[in-house]
Every structure is written in structure tokens, then in C-alpha cells.
Assembly symmetry: C2
Homo-oligomer: 356 residues x 2
């Protein structure tokens, strides 16, 4: 079992990665089991795929465990669903000693994390990511989030889990499209932090059937852990992880949540951000072409119906706007992200043309 550590003082925690790790969870967590209530927060489909089996195993090992399901998709990230989960936790007899296992993708992780941060002023939780995107990104770093009608993740916290348990074998249960979506975030790590990794990914994508997921996940987790360790509160380097996300989030909002996957939207956002970086002479035309060609190796959804003005209005409401200034993530080179305060809304609007 490989271990990567997120270094955050008394909030430090390990990321464990190994094929078929899921079934080892009872032994990994046995030392933490002192009779308290455990709750798996997941989706029914995932419970059927592996959640019920995991729960049986935990029960056999004397865990007092129940489960709560969330609906599929972004609708789960509402205050209504959040409130329902809190009520169910009370009904199940949860208290301050209870521990949550967030078994799912980004949505489950975001909601579970916000439940953990706010239930009786904070309880412990573990992330057990079941999508590629969650494995390499959302499960690490403690970001939690709930959407409001005004936008995505406008409610949330930074609240670190006790550990992240990554089982790459879970990817075998996912559709090609789901895995593809997550590859966008893997490309992101190469683009902002590791040109060698970027080159590797680009090459690996030429033969996606043989894509070395374990290797890619491990390196992506390493980069994420390093960045979070250096900047938990997203004041500096952690902002680089938003590469592709300003436009990505706005695309999701414009097309409607559920119409495009988060990872897909981020991939398209990275293409725009690459184009913007080229316009500002931060990277060369060749570099931007290499970025765009690599992203295009993923099969991405059509964006012919996007509404530029609507997207711009979402960009203006982005959390990365501080004091009215948009902090946009650009590339200074392939493998080197940077924050730029000089990207105009007009340039962002122009960049959307490359998606048509």
C-alpha cells in the first residue's frame, strides 16, 4: 500500500492508494473503531456496486455502521439535501464521536465534507473516492461545498478529512465517459506543475486502453498533496489548481449541471485559459497547440450552444473574484501555472470562440 502524506501540522493525514484497497478498509480503520457510530454517505447505485459489501465487511469487524444516500448529480449539493442528511444522522443516533465515510465522487465528497464540518460543530470523516476526478482532486485538500441558486460552492468550508482511501480498481466499474472526464484534471496537474508528467500523459492518451491509471493517480495525488500542504487556505499556490475552472464552472452553469461533466468543463476551460495565456505572450503558440491537442485526445461534448454573455455573468460571480479583481490562472509555461490579475472579461469572452 502506497502512502502519500498531506502535511498540515495537527491536521495532517495520509492518502492510501492501492488496487482493491476497498476491502482492506476494515483493517485500515480498525484502530480508530472504539465503539462509535460510523456512517457511509453515498449514492444508492454505489452502495449496490460496492457499498453494501464494504458495510458487511465493516459489520463483521464490529463496526457500528449505517448508511445514508444522496440523489445522483448536482442536485445533491443543495441545502435541502444537506438538511435531510443532518436529520438522518440524528435519527441514526449520531453524536460528536461519529465518523463519516464519504463513498462517492466529488458531489458525495463535497456534501459529506460539509456535513462533517458542521454536524455538532464538526466530526471526523474519511474520503473514499469512486471517480477518477475525486481520486486525484476533490477528495484531497478538505474543500467542501454546497450550491445555491446563485452559483456553485458558494457555501462550503475547508475541513480536512482524517484520510483518503484510493482504490484505482474502482475505475473498472465506471463508464469510459466518466473516466475520460477525470482525465481532464490529471492533465491539469501536468500543465500547472510538471512538464514531464504532462508529456507522459499526452503520450499515454494515444493508447487510452493501456492508460496507466495507477501511476497517473499516484503522481496526481502527490502533486495535489504537495500543493495543499504548502497552501491549505488557497491564498497562493493552491489557486493554481483552479486552472481551467473559472471558465469551466461558468460553462457548467450555462449548460446546466448534469449536461456536462465537471472534468469535461474543466478541460474546455483549460483550452480557453491556454489560448488566453498565448494571447498574453506567457506561452508560445506551439505550447498552446500542444496543450489543446492533448486535451482534444479526450472526447469532449459539443459546446456549440453556449451563451457568451451568460458565461461572462457567471465568471463575474466566481469565488476567485476578490475585491472585484478576477484572479485568473494562466500558464507561464507547460508545467508552470501562475495567477494573473490582468485577464479582462473581454479576453475571456473572446477565448470562448475557440469552443465553437
Amino acid at each position: 500500500m502506497k502512502t502519500i502524506k498531506v502535511h498540515l501540522g495537527d491536521r495532517s493525514y495520509p492518502i492510501y492508494t492501492e488496487k482493491n484497497l476497498l476491502m482492506k478498509i476494515p483493517s485500515i480503520l480498525s484502530k480508530k473503531n472504539i465503539g462509535q457510530k460510523w456512517v457511509i454517505i453515498s449514492q444508492y447505485r454505489l452502495m449496490e456496486l460496492f457499498g453494501f459489501e464494504l458495510m458487511s465487511l465493516l459489520k463483521e469487524n464490529e463496526f457500528n455502521i449505517d448508511f445514508i444516500t444522496l440523489p445522483m448529480g448536482e442536485t445533491a449539493k443543495s441545502l435541502n439535501e444537506y438538511s435531510r442528511v443532518i436529520s438522518q444522522m440524528i435519527e441514526l443516533g449520531c453524536d460528536r464521536s461519529s465518523i463519516i465515510l464519504a463513498l462517492g465522487g466529488g458531489v458525495v465528497g463535497d456534501v459529506s465534507g460539509f456535513v462533517a464540518t458542521s454536524f455538532m460543530r464538526g466530526i471526523k470523516y474519511y474520503q473514499v473516492p469512486t471517480t477518477l476526478l475525486a481520486m486525484v482532486d476533490s477528495s484531497i485538500g478538505g474543500k467542501t461545498g454546497i450550491n445555491t441558486s446563485e452559483g456553485k460552492n458558494l457555501i462550503g468550508s475547508i475541513y480536512q478529512p482524517q484520510g483518503v482511501l484510493v482504490d484505482p480498481a474502482i475505475l473498472n466499474f465506471l463508464s469510459r465517459e466518466e473516466v475520460n472526464a477525470g482525465l481532464g484534471e490529471v492533465i491539469k496537474y501536468g500543465a500547472i506543475r510538471d512538464s514531464k508528467f504532462f508529456n507522459d500523459i499526452s503520450e499515454w492518451l494515444d493508447d487510452i486502453e493501456s492508460f496507466p491509471f495507477e501511476k497517473a493517480i499516484y503522481r496526481a495525488c502527490e502533486i495535489k498533496a504537495e500543493i495543499v500542504s504548502l497552501d491549505e487556505q488557497e491564498c497562493g499556490m493552491r489557486r493554481l489548481l483552479n486552472f481551467g475552472h473559472t471558465i469551466g464552472h461558468a460553462l457548467e452553469a450555462n449548460l446546466g449541471y448534469g449536461k456536462i461533466r465537471h472534468g469535461e468543463a474543466v478541460s474546455l476551460g483549460m483550452k480557453c485559459a491556454g489560448w488566453i495565456s498565448e494571447q498574453l505572450n506567457f506561452i508560445s503558440k506551439t505550447e498552446n497547440q500542444f496543450l489543446a491537442q492533448t486535451i482534444d485526445k479526450l472526447t469532449l461534448p459539443s459546446t456549440s450552444k453556449i451563451d457568451f454573455d451568460s458565461i461572462l455573468s457567471y465568471v463575474r460571480k466566481d469565488k476567485k473574484v476578490r475585491n472585484g479583481v478576477l484572479h485568473f490562472i494562466v500558464l507561464d509555461a507547460l508545467g508552470k501555472g501562475n495567477v494573473c490579475d490582468k485577464v479582462s472579461y473581454d479576453l475571456i469572452k473572446q477565448s470562448l470562440k475557440i469552443l465553437l
Copy 2:
């Protein structure tokens, strides 16, 4: 201006106390004003009493400031009101750099704190307490809370403010009953931590017209700051601050929020907890009598209509229950609180008889 420091590493902050401090807030905060949006969260009555004047002063000093009001009473601590405040923050153009001034009592502080902890994953806030209870207790230590239909503060976090600005002159605006309610919490500090302070308070209460509020507030803030500094997460000593609260919260829930003030309920809860401490031979009959007589110097509401079973059911759902074990706060002596795991629900039920 007197300053007490809450020592919490990079989350440390000052408590400033001084008569008429309210009008000095612009100068105290001027260094923090770098053009971001400020928002006062308060109640309309408080805005009329001193909020609008404070806002004018801040505007004169080039603060970009708006306000949001909450309804009076415990109804403000709902997810609905919380959600409305978040929406208004977005409408006002708030972003991650925005800062909240929580101008009010415990309810305003609890909701504002939870807004601050969760708006765009956390923004800064200051507590400006306007009740005695908030000045000596709820504004210090970062506890935030929202109620659900299942109980009080079941949603919340521990999220420290940037500072607490205490103006004892505000007490002149309050009714005698409101001030009395807060005195219960002042007695608590003496009972759990400082027998000399307890004796002083008991004496001062004999001539309430001359009660030295500034002195009492300062000492209470000192004790609270010390305890929070030693145990931010309420794993140890901070639990002592719950003296009187297990039964107090249950009384509030049974009688209906708004029918009894929090401080009043805590005073009654302390009488029960004192009686329990005597039954368990932790304190003498004389000590318990001294505690009860001191509490009785406050004018407390009638509790002839309380329902013992309903109160017990609330006690069982208390946040201080961990792993099914209730951690009850008793006195080992007047001036020395302690946590006790051996207080039976039956003994709690018996203790309620002294309230009839």
C-alpha cells in the same frame, strides 16, 4: 482600552473592552480596511439603536459597508434564514475578501459566525456583542450554530473571529430582564473557575443597581479567553463552560424558544447541576445552598409547567452525549467545575424537582 488575548496560534485574536468602544470601531478597524466590502449582520431594532450610527461613522471613514438584518429571536437560527443571508451577501457583491461585523446577541453571533465559516469557504468576521451574555460568553471562542427541528445548535462550527469588540455602555440600552439573564453566565464563571469571583458576584448581586458590570465583564472575558486558549475544540476544559447547559438547553426546548431566555435556563440548569453535585457528594450541602441562594438573587421565570419526560428526551439528544455517554458538568467545589460520566438520567430527572 483593555485588551485580553485569546491564544490560539495563527487563530489568536484580541478582545477589546471599553465603555463607548462602539464609536471607536472605525479607528480600531481602519488598518484592516483595504477597500473590501464590509457587512453588518444585525437586527433592525439594534440597527436603530446604534447600528445605523456605527454604519455612518464607518462610511465617513471610507468603509464600503452594507447591512443585513435577521429576525428577532431563535427563529433567526434556521437554515432558511441562513440561506437568505447568503443570498443577500451575493446580491451585495460580497466575495472572499468581505468581512462581517456581527452586531447583536448570541443569536446574531451564532448565525453570523456560521455565515462567515461557510460563505465561499470562509471569510473573516468580528463579534460586536450587544447583550451581557454575548459579551461574556457567546462572542468569544468561535462557536457558531444553527438549530434544526431536532435540537439546538446541531449545525455549527468552531470558527474564530478576528476580534471581539465589547462596549459595556451598550447594557444601558437593555431591559433589566435581559441583563439579569446574562448574569447567570457570569455566575457560571465563578462557579466553575474562580471562587473569589463567585463570592464577589454573590455580594454584588445584593445591590444590583450598583453592580460593577465593567469589572465583572472583564473578569468573565478573561476566564473565557483562558479556557478557550487551553481547549479550542472542547475536548477537555472547555466542556466546563457547559455547566448548567445540559438541563438549560433541554428546559429551553421544552418550554419553547422565546419563552425563557438562554441565560435564565442556564441559571436553572446550574441549580439542578449543583443539586446533583451535592447528591454525588462532590460538594457539601452548604456549598450547594450558597450556589442556589446566589442564583436565586436573579429573578427567574416560573418553571411549574415543565414536562420531565420531554426534558429527559432532549437531554438524551444533547451534543455532550458521546458514544451514548453523557458528559455532565458538576462542581467539585465552588470555583471548580469537573466533567462527570456517571450522572444517570434518573438523577437528572430527580434534580428537576427542585425547580417546581
